[in-house]
């Protein structure tokens, strides 16, 4: 390393501070980037493999028919929305276990708002909403506000009381679920406007792409840009990488963390609207494994549970795997319950690989 001459391309490949007595190890150029790329490759391969296997074994290859693939996308849309928010949170070194029950609460509040503002009880029950636009608008806002409120609560508890997000969100899932059951006496809310299902939840753009999937992909695109291109995204990963370093760079870490939880909550509200639009009903007894599925999708997608490294594209792809398994199993007349066990196994594998990667790189 006798390098006194100025910048020289060949020298640059060796790339280091030019220290004579203590030669620096060559830069481990792009290894992490490569690992990340290979993660995406790995998920892509897994998705193709699952599609091929189910395509071969399902009756008349129904699994790989376009309408079935789009149905998989539709079924993944709620988890995609949740996973996108979760990618930011995990990227910042946090976790949100409350999303499933917060989603139930948001859907209940949204549905109740719609029913209450739709018109007289008779009008609402016959599906002839007098104030349809008002009811839907207010319902959407109420659902998103509900999700954001739980997010705000999570964020305040994590940042002000300095509690672990794991415990905080476990606790607030109970609070959200309890509130939802209190509000509904554990019964679902009927008479949600059919228009929501006809024009959105069950409708397709150009008779091809389900609107909920389109929405999830659009939201994914926006958040991808946010993560990669903006100050907000960069600071999110900085906090996940090193809270102290971010704070010492002058970033208000608590404020940023609070925003992340509220953002997650807003996406929970959007997902709640998608959910009631698809089913024209609330699903008070469902969503127990939404958090598992979203976290699994995020980690499978290459976002590190250690924080600092995140991929929205990986999350969107990662979401597909559990849904494909469920879809394929149903078509094989296998009880879909196996899906949950499989997702658990996949999550453990993903976490294991994440840990191995981290150990190797440090």
């Amino acid at each position: 390393m006798n390098s006194e001459e100025p910048l020289d391309l060949a020298r640059l490949t060796e790339a280091s501070i030019r220290a004579e007595e203590t030669p620096q190890p060559e830069i481990l150029e792009g290894r992490l980037a490569k690992a990340r790329r290979s993660t995406a490759l790995w998920i892509g391969l897994a998705i193709v493999a699952i599609a091929v296997v189910f395509g071969l074994i399902t009756p008349s290859h129904s699994f790989v028919k376009p309408e079935n693939l789009l149905a998989i996308g539709l079924n993944a849309s709620v988890i995609m929305l949740l996973g996108v928010g979760m990618t930011f949170l995990i990227g910042a070194g946090h976790l949100d276990l409350s999303i499933g029950y917060s989603l139930i609460l948001a859907s209940v509040i949204g549905a109740k708002t719609m029913v209450a503002l739709g018109g007289t009880p008779e009008q609402v029950q016959t599906g002839a909403y007098a104030n349809l636009a008002l009811a839907i608008t207010a319902g959407v806002i109420a659902a998103i506000a509900s999700g954001m409120a739980i997010g705000l609560l999570n964020g305040l508890l994590v940042t002000r009381l300095r509690l672990s997000s794991f415990i905080v969100t476990l606790a607030t899932s109970g609070i959200a679920f309890g509130l939802a059951l209190i509000l509904t006496s554990a019964a679902n809310i009927p008479y949600i406007p059919n228009e929501l299902q006809d024009n959105f939840g069950g409708a397709k753009f150009e008779r091809l792409i389900p609107y909920p999937l389109l929405l999830a992909l659009a939201v994914g695109g926006v958040f991808w840009a946010m993560l990669r291109k903006t100050r907000f995204g960069m600071r999110t990963l900085a906090i996940g990488s090193s809270r102290d370093a971010a704070a010492r760079a002058g970033i208000d870490v608590n404020r940023h963390t609070l925003k992340l939880f509220v953002l997650m909550g807003a996406l929970v509200g959007v997902a709640a609207i998608v959910d009631i639009s698809r089913n024209a009903n609330t699903n008070v007894s469902g969503h127990q494994t939404d958090n598992l599925q979203a976290i699994a999708a995020v980690v499978i997608g290459g976002t590190s549970l250690f924080g600092g490294v995140a991929s929205i594209g990986g999350t969107l792809l990662g979401t597909l795997i559990p849904v494909m398994l469920a879809n394929g199993l149903v078509q094989m007349a296998v009880p879909p319950f196996y899906q949950y066990a499989l997702v658990g196994v996949i999550l453990i594998l993903a976490v294991y690989f994440d840990q191995r990667r981290r150990e190797r790189s440090s």
Binding site: L7, A19, L32, K229, R231, S304, G307
Partner: protein, 261 residues
């Protein structure tokens, strides 16, 4: 800040004036009334045994720690630097002992973290980063320190210890307008790179910045610094001209007789 008038106007040339700084961590009295002045254009080396309070004092001056007592003025301006962001606004650049880098972020992102340049117009409104500008300015700032990296987009995790330290120095120099504080800035560097860092420090001082360097390398400090301040048990016990003091004397004061006070 009742002694405002007294401390402020002592001299506009005093860049850092810390007087009677107290800082406790539980039962541990890390600083017991530490007093220190650093003049503009001066390199002051802060030396002392482990646990003497050097890093704590530096952290108070740069706003990373809130003191429990005492007064601080930067460039004649009384400040309660309780936020690091505030210290940055006052033109203080810092190299932390642990470097405080976000290892998963790229070299360029680390240099600008907290002060990211944004694009124009709608890009600015959306908070979109101007990464081209970041790369160009990062390359220039690193070039000054003789750091050559193959790419500024690699995560800092992939850099060697020496490269990371040089990056932290480059970041401090990039943002320091009036004061530079460096906590062991050359601990992981080879002699050549250390030399470049010290040249940079000298140049910064020649440009009128006040430089506070914490180091265990006392012989090196005697050649680099203008003055040496020795800390012991949470106080600055001696301030001497580097030119007129011998290594043995400094070490003697550092280790101190137990009767020190």
């Amino acid at each position: 800040m009742c002694d405002h008038g007294m401390t402020v106007m002592a001299s506009p040339e005093i860049a850092i004036r810390a007087s009677g700084i107290v800082k406790n961590f539980g039962h541990l009295e890390a600083l017991r009334g530490a007093t220190l002045e650093v003049h503009a254009g001066e390199i002051l080396a802060l030396v002392g045994d482990n646990g003497a309070g050097k890093s704590t004092l530096a952290n108070v001056i740069c706003g990373a720690l809130a003191p429990d007592g005492g007064d601080l003025t930067l460039w004649g301006e009384p400040v309660e630097v309780h936020s690091i962001a505030h210290a940055y606004e006052l033109g203080v650049g810092v190299v932390y002992q642990d470097l405080s880098l976000a290892l998963d972020l790229s070299v360029a992102d680390n240099l600008f973290l907290g002060r990211e340049p944004e694009g124009q117009g709608w890009r600015r409104w959306l908070g979109i980063l101007n990464r081209d500008r970041m790369r160009n300015e990062a390359r220039a700032a690193l070039g000054v320190l003789g750091i050559r990296l193959r790419s500024l987009d690699v995560p800092v995790r992939n850099l060697s210890g020496g490269q990371r330290q040089a990056l932290a120095v480059a970041r401090a120099m990039m943002w320091a307008k009036r004061v530079v504080i460096m906590d062991e800035p050359t601990a992981a560097l080879g002699p050549k790179q250390s030399g470049i860092v010290f040249d940079t420090i000298r140049k910064a001082a020649d440009d009128g910045l006040a430089v506070l360097v914490i180091s265990h390398d006392i012989p090196q400090m005697l050649t680099v610094a203008h003055r040496i301040a020795v800390m012991r048990h949470g106080r600055v016990v001696v301030e001497v001209d580097a030119a007129s003091v011998k290594l043995a004397d400094v070490i003697g004061v550092m280790l101190g007789e137990e009767v020190a006070g």
